[in-house]
Symmetry: C2
Subunit: 158 residues, 2 copies
DNA sequence: ATATTCCCTAGCATAGCAGTCGGGATTGGA
DNA sequence: TCCAATCCCGACTGCTATGCTAGGGAATAT
């Protein structure tokens, strides 16, 4: 497990999907503009998120991305590992017999720590963020505006 | 906050200090050999750890590094932030007024998440690892060997 | 049809990682 | 007093991953 700015990009983008996704798919162009991330870079990140089964894309006008599962079934740990593929384990793993044939104890301890960290991040889902009152407030405002936008442009006008 | 292999090196090295440090300072050469990390690279890491006040060096023969504080007062978060200095905040921070003048909500949420993560890692101290029975066992064996080593080389022979 | 969106591949500049080298300064022990 | 073991410091280097650009597809609402 690794945690860098790349993971942050993915997590914040997924938060966007979770928050604003109630009114239909969210385009990468929107996220790009809002978060200041390059569009093509976002596309590459979302390719990984899609391969990991976390999002699904909707093509064509009015398309975008939406969560592949309910927000309470997508954890932060899943997002980070999907994007930050890093299984570069310790080098001194079995064969190195430092300390009189005993394999390095600290590696065991590190494995334990990283496991704990993963479990912690796996316990935090996107829903934990979306369900907050202030987020709900903004999301409602956003969807009202989205609806007005649709009406202005005749999206729903039969 | 960031978490990469660099931070892992630092944390595992600090574990070594906490475990084997009871019998005097631990040399970087030992850690280097045990963990398979380059000596000079370790020196650079420990320079940062020392500047952060987490360890103190003892020069001369028989020297090495020891923890600057008791192990239960050194958290994993402190070690990682000491070594992984990364305060590269979000780019769209106040001035970007996406979504109708409202600053990006997801940044707030990310800040909250990283704060939670820090608090989690700050709650885990080196002592949590040292105090385990199996670690205690090995540490005792190690110190017996260290003592024998001292006697063999006449360290304590008046 | 056409514009909009996702999708894919290739390349590219830069920064940071991990390491090397070469030298100090300090200090315990012979 | 000298030597060897340590910590300390700075500069340099190859390599990888990051973040980004460019350029093209394929699907699909209108």
């Amino acid at each position: 497990m690794k945690l860098s700015t790349k993971g942050r990009y993915a997590v914040t983008a997924m938060m966007d999907l979770a928050i604003y996704g109630s009114a239909g798919p969210v385009t990468l162009a929107d996220i790009s503009q809002c978060q200041g991330i390059s569009l093509s870079y976002l596309e590459q990140l979302f390719a990984k998120l899609r391969k990991a089964g976390l999002v699904e894309g909707v093509r064509g006008p009015g398309g975008g991305y939406r969560l592949a599962r309910p927000a309470n079934q997508i954890s932060v740990a899943q997002i980070i590992t999907a994007v930050d593929e890093s299984v570069d384990m310790t080098r001194c793993k079995g064969e190195a017999n430092c300390q009189d044939g005993e394999s390095c104890l600290t590696h065991e301890l590190w494995m334990d720590l990283s496991k704990r960290l993963y479990e912690f991040l796996d316990g935090i889902t996107l829903a934990d963020f979306v369900e907050r009152p202030e987020v709900q407030e903004i999301a409602r405002r956003q969807s009202r505006e989205a609806l007005r936008h649709h009406l202005l442009f005749g999206r729903f006008a039969a």
